[in-house]
Symmetry: C2
Subunit: 186 residues, 2 copies
């Protein structure tokens, strides 16, 4: 998956490993993360498969850099991946793992758990708006700026997701409050 993310970025234009890392941080970070160590490793395997090519650029005043470009066969692989029919939604959810076993803890503590989750929703939203801001910057790189709709769609998903989690957490809190009040009535 990261391989194809890197191919997708290089398809917009040639970049160094460092540029790729920055782009991940600025734009894809809310649905995918990548450390430099992983990026440099993947770039090597991408190169070994002939999907990217690199060129050393000597700079004065700065360390040399390696500019990576997508090859024809890399572009073919990117398109193959995009056409693949595998839109399942497996994915692991640490939040649900921790929710599932909360029966071990007290109702009060679990209400706190969901409150904290709601608080973190806010931080997540700020993260996305950071990404939405960088969209205009990157949009210039596109030959056809209309293609940025797909970027916007991912942000829209992010916004809807946070709203959903927030509402879910609220329902959980309400349910737990009810149970707390019922037990007081006894």
């Amino acid at each position: 998956m990261l391989k194809h993310g890197i191919l997708g970025l290089l398809n917009y234009g040639s970049m160094t490993g460092y540029d790729i890392m920055l782009t991940f941080k600025n734009s894809l970070n809310f649905f995918w993360t990548a450390q430099t160590s992983q990026i440099y490793r993947e770039l090597q395997t991408l190169k070994n498969r002939g999907w990217v090519a690199d060129e050393s650029i000597v700079q004065s005043g700065k360390p040399d850099k390696k500019l990576f470009s997508i090859t024809e066969s890399g572009r073919a692989e990117l398109n193959r991946w995009l056409m693949e029919d595998d839109t399942g939604f497996e994915s692991k959810s640490p939040i649900l793992m921790k929710t599932f076993f909360r029966g071990e803890r007290s109702i009060e503590e679990n209400i706190e758990f969901f409150r904290r989750l709601q608080k973190n929703c806010g931080d997540f939203v700020s993260g996305i708006s950071g990404s939405t801001n960088s969209i205009e910057m990157y949009q210039k790189l596109l030959k056809n700026p209309q293609k940025a709709i797909y970027w916007r769609m991912t942000f829209e998903y992010g916004a809807m997701y946070v709203r959903m989690v927030n509402e879910w957490a609220q329902r959980c809190i309400d349910e737990l409050e009810d149970i707390k009040n019922e037990s007081i009535d006894d």
Copy 2:
């Protein structure tokens, strides 16, 4: 995370690796998956850390089995994990990765992509209802059956999530249809 999932299950009662695999398939599958190979490996590391203990049980007519039980220190670790304050929502989304780069493909093909996603929403829902059914079965294992609310909360999340993705996909389709119609007007 899987380590703690296993600890959580063993906390409900002693199980074999095979039982754990089945429970994952029946109940946690929609937010976490685990292969037997991984489960048996994790059980070994859990044992090495003293969080679980095993006991060999000779069976006639069936292969011997190893029954795993949680230890006191395992229970302490489970509780430590539950109390941890780390309710962030990182997580990687293959769906968004593929959406982000869809500018390479045609509008028609991308509409198809979102339609397929909507179709898969249905399959996901059936998967969850399978889990909701097994909830009553497992509920008997609990000393305090009220604790099953947390299980139900995870299913509720699943249901809300699918509804959200479905709505998002619909919005994406609508937007793409609009663009298609505009270009016909030219």
